[in-house]
Subunit: 303 residues, 4 copies
């Protein structure tokens, strides 16, 4: 089911998220605590935006486990970023471990990653692909449910006229974080409708995050009436202290809040709080986090 | 454009094909001589059948170059097989180097590999997928033209009632080598028709090999009126001598002919001969090689 | 601390050891049960001899985890061997995951693998290397304690005039299994003496296996007065039944006993028995297993 | 023999060195022009310092070829650095392709990489290791001549009291670029003396670069009386224009000169000039490049 961590705020070193905290994402790659299987060793991926976001985000994907990757450890100490997505993968049985299947997935200025599982994926895949515009149809290079969900998300961007290329002002600057959340929600609604139509009743677990460098949307969602969604936590505030050290390190007045969202809490900091089930986190670096409920069909309840 | 070598005959050690000859496939991975670019370093794959063919073929795929792979070199010395496919890849620009894109591709008892390029692939891909039965539609795990061509080939098998699972007598035993060649030809005909309909005039180069362990079909084909197809050679006979040594090593009376087909000649043996353009090699371990012409639409001319 | 499995007997398919049993070595790569940490995901290695042992053993090493390796799964179904070593690695913290550090290690006709840890390794390494003949000194390509122990073992072979190259009759055929066990014991004695001299009191855990294709020696040993050695089990007999299926598959009268040694029992078969602490298993394909005690300095007690 | 490129100057994006120029290092990984074999596909490595050099340099090593690495391409667009070392490897025959053998090698605040070959390496290796202090003796994790040369270089640092850990002011700040060049020269002198003593007359080709983030030393050197050293070029000045674009991009008055050293010229810029044979480039970001001759024993001629 995977584990992920994301960050939006003043630039921080990647190590502050990935290796320094006592329950860092790298630790979660072999000792995850909030799922029955502690192992997320089927490759990893880090996506991050340059400090001033003048380009597409960098994507560092590897099919080897995160816990033993010297390059990851080394790069994390040197690179700083204001918007980071990091993912350690536990491949669904039968799913390949290869580079094209590593999260986060990127297109233009956007990133998406998932901790979850699209129910009845093999049964809906053909219909899902048929529903896509050519631009989105040509996106998937691998075989994961997540990359197909990403294609739906990009399809929603394209259909709604959202610019896909990164620019100085950020790709989503016209719409902002709420627009990003709406597009993610619309993609999920389409997936759920396909499952309703062609599925075999298997539940979906959909903790999904999208970002454009300036804004982030993350949902905690599932369709199982008897089980909770996968775990998801938010920490935000002026200071974030892993292992006794403050970060972000060079907090300036105008840089906005620091926000960390993670499958499991990275530290013992008491300010971590669980994201409610069936809801969407809407994050903007210049505003406090918002949480919007999602209905049974995956739609945002905005009022 | 890649390079490949295949073998059908009495069991031989893989090293006899892959490392011993002076112009072995491993040498062709960095010093190919019959294409302008000598480099085929984007991963490799070896598919081989067990000496008695009681199972699916083994597939050994790696994304690292063949020339430096110690495991490949070591395994090749120890493993013997009566039917081998080996491929070194030169990825089309823009195409990913990952495990799902390595040849040969396998399904049930069958293998397929290509040295070539499906013209206008991105333009026909959507239509190609639409034309497939669900079984074939669910096959591709990567993004290559070859894997999509393989899906068409499997679609042809399924539609014609050919058993896909390997058995004691071999999957194609009812039909034999000619049946295998017909299915490959039918897949190519479908690709060419799609290109005719949706393509932009880009030429296709289609040296494609399929096997079921007992039989092999390989075509040398292109659609460019001004250029020859990629090079392809056949050697067959009682003995095959790379670097002064005889192989197959333990020739028995009833084991049939040894046949090697390769993008480039492995040795200086004068018996290598070029496969004619626009033709299909039809190989059966108990019969001499046949060569059938193919017409402009990719159909076998059998009469 | 790693996990390993080895086999000596009539040729069997590798899958019979590696993937078919309910607690196969591949399962032990993520769900080991007899060590506190269940994870052995830092690469793997398989070494096996050709059915007739006319060459060096094959070595298939990968730095990715065994549980997701499609090539391993596929090769294991097709390859048969009369002598197999298989190892899944849990790297010591600070130790690199790279190809040169994968077990088993090979030289000429010999293989060696370890589940354990040489105490004070960094402190004795310099003296250990100084003690080697040039042939053994030039052996290590990586940085593990095990590869240095292997260099000591090869040093013992060379100093005792044992032929290193594989031959038709097998490299150790003059000496046999007992000779192999003596050389392994001598290497361990040298390591223990170095630790005694330069170490800092850290305990050693030395479950080590060596093979020449015809014979195998495996010890279960440690130097900690308060802890048992790592777990180690032996199964031998006419038939070995994983998951309800008999193997070796084609038992012939003259092929000798089947012997499996494994860090953890592969099956629920009641004939598995624990190897006693401080002892050496001496295995010959034409004789019943022998177990010899080892004294405090690692010497075999033969009388 | 490998190819390398290094940079010292105002921070630039890595892509400006690695991918944008028409004859970039990535192009040199498959189409090197100034050596007989154009291929440098045995892995690669990038080492770079953070924009303000408050830590050890990052090291990104991969055993796959540089030309197909999507992560490299992506990271290079986003990361900026004032001091970069980049290397594409052509492994000496018989040398392993694995992570521990990738250049540049790092220790504390230092990096070293080589394009060349230590003559008679196997013959001098034992004596070379014997000559090292324990700190340097424990450094090598792989099997290359270059990593052993790096151990000699670190040995020289340690013996001369140079601080190894990176600090705010840079590790070599007391000594500066000339001190760095002296240490490299001393290491080379020791290698050449060992070859003189134990070698078999094989020539050495030693284009070697070392850096501490603030300073760089690079030599172009060989011991063959009949052949030139490997090619090496320097470009420096206010502007450096690959493919029509100026870089460094945001030139400020106080940031010092931009200096690029490369095995082959990255661009058609007429200011590239060949580094003379038997000489050492001494680079400081606040001073013009100096070139010092080296004598037959590898010593700097400073007067």
């Amino acid at each position: 089911m995977c584990r992920f961590t994301l960050y939006l705020g003043p630039p921080i070193r990647l190590s502050t998220l990935l290796t320094d905290p006592e329950h860092s994402l790298i630790r979660q790659s072999y000792h995850a605590e909030e799922r029955s299987e502690p192992l997320n060793g089927d490759g990893f991926g880090i996506g991050w935006y340059a400090p001033r976001i003048w380009s597409e985000p960098a994507l560092f994907h590897q099919i080897t486990p995160a816990w033993s990757n010297r390059s990851l450890e080394s790069i994390a100490k040197v690179v700083a970023s204001p918007c980071v997505m990091a993912h350690v993968r536990a491949a669904t049985p039968g799913s390949d471990v290869n580079l094209a299947n590593c999260h986060p997935f990127g297109y233009g200025g956007y990133l998406l990653m998932q901790n979850g599982h699209v129910g009845s994926f093999r049964l809906i895949r053909r219909r899902l692909l048929e529903s896509l515009s050519d631009e989105a149809f040509n996106l998937p290079r691998g075989s994961t449910d997540t990359e197909h969900l990403f294609a739906l998300f990009v399809d929603e961007l394209v259909r709604n006229g959202c610019p896909v290329d990164p620019g100085k002002e950020g790709p989503m600057d016209g719409g902002g974080a709420l627009e990003l959340a709406r597009r993610l929600s619309a993609a999920i609604t389409r997936v759920l409708a396909l499952i309703e139509e062609c599925g075999d009743g298997e539940s979906s677990f959909l903790n999904v995050a999208v970002a454009d460098g300036h804004h982030v949307a993350v949902c905690r969602y599932d369709t199982d009436p008897e089980e909770s969604p996968e775990s998801l936590y938010l920490l935000h505030g002026e200071m974030y202290e892993p292992a006794g050290r403050s970060f972000p390190e060079r907090r300036k007045e105008d840089e906005g809040e620091a926000m960390v969202v993670s499958s499991e809490r990275l530290t013992g900091d008491p300010r971590w709080r669980a994201v409610p089930p069936s809801s969407m986190l809407v994050l903007d670096r210049h505003a406090p986090p918002r949480i919007l409920p999602m209905d049974d069909s995956g739609r945002l309840v905005e009022a």
